[in-house]
C-alpha cells in the first residue's frame, strides 16, 4: 500500500517537473509546479513529516508561487519562448551527469548488500508522534543560532527586494514599459 502511494506521488512529481521545463508558457509552468508542490507535500506525509507538508503547501504553494504568477502577469510576456541557443552545450553537460547518475545507482545497488551492516542501518527508536512539537523543540534548542540567522536572511532579502524593485524618486514623469503596456491595453 505504501509502495502504491510512493509510486503515485513519484510518478506525478516526475511528470509535472518535466512539464515545468517543457511547457512554453510560464503561467502553465508555474501551475504545473503548483501540482508538483502538492505531491511533494503528500510524499512528506508518507515520510512522517506532517508539519513540513503543511509548511510546504503554505509557503511554497501559497506564497512563492503566487509571487511567481504575480510577476509573470505583471510582465505580460507574450513572445515566443524557444529553447536556449546553447542547448548543445547543455546536452554536453547533462548527458554525462545522467550517465554518472546511472553508474552511481548501479554501483549503489551492488554495494548495498555489504553497506547495510557498516553504519547505514536505520536507527531503532521511533519518531515522536507529535511531529510539530518535536520539530519545535529541535529548532529552538539545537538549531537556535541557525534559526536566528535565517530570520536575518529573510530581513536582508526583504530590504533587497524593495531596493531593487522600487523606482527612483524623480522617475515618475518617465513611465517605464510596465506602465506603458498597461495604458496600451
Amino acid at each position: 500500500m505504501s509502495l502504491f502511494f510512493f509510486g503515485y506521488f513519484a510518478a506525478m512529481i516526475v511528470a509535472t517537473s518535466i512539464l515545468v521545463v517543457a511547457l512554453r508558457n510560464p503561467v502553465y509552468s508555474a501551475l504545473s509546479l503548483l501540482v508538483m508542490f502538492f505531491h511533494v507535500a503528500g510524499l512528506f506525509v508518507t515520510l512522517h513529516a506532517e508539519f513540513l507538508a503543511a509548511v510546504q503547501i503554505i509557503v511554497y504553494a501559497g506564497a512563492i508561487l503566487v509571487l511567481y504568477l504575480f510577476v509573470v502577469m505583471i510582465l505580460n510576456v507574450k513572445q515566443d519562448d524557444r529553447y536556449h541557443s546553447q542547448w548543445r552545450i547543455a546536452g554536453f553537460v547533462c548527458v554525462p551527469l545522467l550517465i554518472e547518475t546511472m553508474i552511481l545507482l548501479a554501483g549503489g545497488t551492488g554495494a548495498r548488500t555489504t553497506g547495510t551492516q557498516t553504519g547505514l542501518a536505520p536507527a531503532a527508536e521511533t519518531i515522536a508522534p507529535d511531529n510539530t512539537l518535536a520539530i519545535g523543540q529541535t529548532l529552538f534548542s539545537t538549531y537556535l543560532f541557525p534559526f536566528e540567522v535565517a530570520s536575518l536572511v529573510l530581513l536582508v532579502a526583504m530590504i533587497g527586494a524593495i531596493v531593487l524593485a522600487k523606482r527612483e524618486i524623480g522617475e515618475q514623469d518617465n513611465p517605464g514599459p510596465l506602465v506603458q503596456t498597461k495604458v496600451a491595453e
Binding site: 513529516a49 511554497y60 509571487l67 519562448d81 524557444r82 519518531i127 520539530i135 536572511v153 529573510l154
Partner: protein, 101 residues
Amino acid sequence: MTIPISYYLILSGVVFLTGVVGVLIRRNIIAILLSVELMLNATNINFVAFSDYFRDLGGQVFVFFALTVAAAEVAVGLAIIIALHRSRSTINIEEFNLLKW
C-alpha cells in the same frame, strides 16, 4: 512494507536533473527560476527521506532552512527580473549579454 531509501534517491536525482536541464536550456528567466525551485525541492525530498530513515529530525529542520533560502531567493530574483524588464523591456536571457566576455 517500507520503501527502500534508494527509491527516494532516484526520484530526487531525476527531479534535480530535470531542474539542471531547465536552467541550461530555457531562455525565459522566470522559467529558469522555476527550474531552480525544482532543484531545491529535489534536495528537500532527499533531506526528508534521510530524516525518516535515520529517525533524526535534523533533516526536517534543514528543509525548513532551505525553504527560508528559497523564499529569499525568489524575492530577490523576481525583484532583479522586474528591474531588468524595466531597463531592457525583455526577459529573454540572451538579450542580457553585458557581462559576457
